[in-house]
Amino acid sequence: METILNWLTKFPALDRESLRDIKKAIDSSFRDFSREFGESLETFFEPLLWFLVGLEKLLLATPWPIIIIIIAGLAWLGSRSIKIVVGAVISFLLIGFFGMWDDTMSTLAIISVSTLVCISLGIPLGILMARSNRMQSLVTPILDIMQTIPAFVYLIPVVMLLGIGKVPGLIAVCIYAIPPVVRLTNLGIRLVDKEALEAANAFGATYKQRLFGVQIPLALPNIFAGINQTIMMALSMVVITSMIGVAGLGVPVLRSISNQYLALGLMNGLAIVALAIIFDRVSQSYGKRLQKHRVGEQHD
């Protein structure tokens, strides 16, 4: 009688020893795995590291007026809006004036590289997902996990594998930031007008001709919304990556948390916000400009 009552009130969990053994087994096998392959993985990611370090050095070595001119030029190319260009220039001048120039350049470097990685992996993956329902039902839960699992949890195996530094930071950013571009590429392609696609089929288009001639061009606004979201999410990872040794605006923020420096935290936080707003406005208005065929929609 008593045993039944016990069984009901206390969840029949594994005993402590077997639980410990399971965890130990997982830990040690992963440790073995990282000893075995850690080095080769590092060599695999080496080009990425060179690229990231190179870009960071380039940004830091370039005189600031040139950087500001380049940023103004890119903002103009993207948005064709004087307002956005002026806003971007003022933001960067303020960032420099308040002594955050170097950190901002480091952050710019890692955001640019991780966005490029996310785009070059995410768009093909989204295309594959749009092609088959099975692929979609396979990838969607993985994307869900990537977006919801706390960043600290996947930082553990990444750091175990690759140690502390820029590359694990980059990987952490990509894990968190890649889902939107994958999802919206998939969605955009699936939302392409059925008849437009059927017309391509009826005229004998191959898969490639359909993909590059009809599906991607018509899905571009959605794909761009995905890229925009990916950039935003990458920026939001800046503080977390600073915990594993990535230089940038996150480092002073982290310092101000542990030392209660309100002003320092606020300034660097606002610099991140400014970067986010500039990226967002420029990429959004570029996405809109891609739809020039919709310009005359309302007129008959």
Partner: protein, 349 residues
């Protein structure tokens, strides 16, 4: 007119989880309703046999859900049948390999869609050239070849517009130009004019008839509109619940509807404007009276017959040879609608 271009033979299409397993039920003559209720499959096309002659407009008519749009997509194999054959110029397109099928779609059959199916990110010129680009022609060549068709459908000057800047009628002209530009012998038109306003629809029908007079393509035209079917069709096949219930010359269908469904259907048409005097004439008999050409409609011939001395006229072929004659009484009785219920004997032979 008489050589066969497309022969659809015993075509079945079942939609559902396991269409092949339904074939044995079809052999036992299951109805569409029973198949849906008992087996959860939709019988979309049921034993379709249609012969489509070359160089004419064949209309396939039916209400929504009759399977007409499914049927036309079998001709260029946008939809795979559950069983049956589609033979075009003696070749069963269902046994074609992928490459052959692509070539068939590129060079032999082009299509016009109900909602135009234009590519909104391409200009009018780029849309019209699309089929040629797919064929592998260079941009310049495609543009040059398609330009002629843009002008032919009356869109000269709109080359650089995007579809969203055009009205529905103009958009469908782009669709037509795109289909014509590939120089395919077969033109599949799926409710091509159904999304247009009545006036513009008539306009487009004129454009099509005009083009056909010159091009003599094999056109398969899908519609739910009987007036349109009668206006365009050299032949009409009427589809109901996935089966052909009558096919033939429009005049014959009006004079001898196969069943009450069709009789009901043709109730409201303007018989005077559709029926031709050749259909009603007495063959071989000549009368003392003026000569009328065979393809004139009853309405058109009425005043001349009525004002002639004997209330009768001769009917001639296009060269003036007398074929027979028609009287005022015949015309009047031709204008009377077929009554439902009564008169069944004449309707069913």
């Amino acid at each position: 007119m008489t050589d066969l271009k497309i022969k659809i033979e015993n075509l079945y299409k079942v939609f559902g989880a396991n269409p092949q397993s339904m074939l044995k039920h079809i052999e036992q003559g299951i109805s569409k309703k029973d198949m849906l209720e008992k087996h959860g499959h939709v019988l979309a096309l049921n034993a379709i046999n249609i012969d489509i002659p070359a160089r004419g407009i064949s209309v396939i008519m039916g209400l929504s859900g009759s399977g007409k749009s499914t049927l036309i997509r079998h001709i260029n194999r946008l939809i795979e049948p559950t069983s049956g054959k589609v033979i075009i110029d003696g070749e069963n397109i269902l046994s074609m390999k992928k490459k052959q099928l692509l070539d068939f779609r590129r060079y032999k059959a082009s299509m016009v869609f109900q909602n135009f199916g234009l590519h909104v990110h391409r200009t009018v010129a780029e849309n019209a050239a699309y089929g040629l680009i797919i064929q592998g022609k260079s941009k310049n060549e495609a543009k040059k070849l398609s330009q002629k068709w843009i002008e032919r459908v009356g869109l000269g000057g709109f080359e650089d517009h995007y579809p969203s800047q055009l009205s529905g009628g103009m958009q469908q002209r782009v669709g037509l130009a795109r289909a014509l530009a590939t120089d395919a012998e077969i033109l599949l038109m799926d409710e091509a004019f159904s999304a247009l306003d009545p006036l513009i629809r008539t306009d487009m029908q004129d454009v099509l008839l005009d083009l056909q007079e010159e091009l003599h393509k094999t056109i398969v035209f899908i519609t739910h509109d009987l007036d349109e079917a009668l206006r365009l069709g050299d032949r009409i096949a009427i589809l109901r619940d996935g089966a052909v219930i009558q096919q033939g010359n429009p005049q014959d269908i009006i004079m001898q509807p196969a069943n009450d469904y069709i009789a009901d259907f043709i109730q409201d048409i303007n018989r005077g404007r559709v029926l031709r005097i050749k259909t009603l004439m007495t063959k071989g008999k000549t009368v003392a009276g003026p000569n009328l050409v065979q393809h004139r409609t009853l309405e058109d011939a009425l005043t001349e017959v009525a004002s002639s001395e004997n209330k009768a006229c001769n009917v001639t072929d296009n060269k003036g040879e007398v074929l027979g004659s028609i009287t005022l009484d015949q015309i009047i009785s031709g204008l009377v609608r077929v009554k439902l219920e009564s008169n069944t004997e004449t309707r069913y032979h």
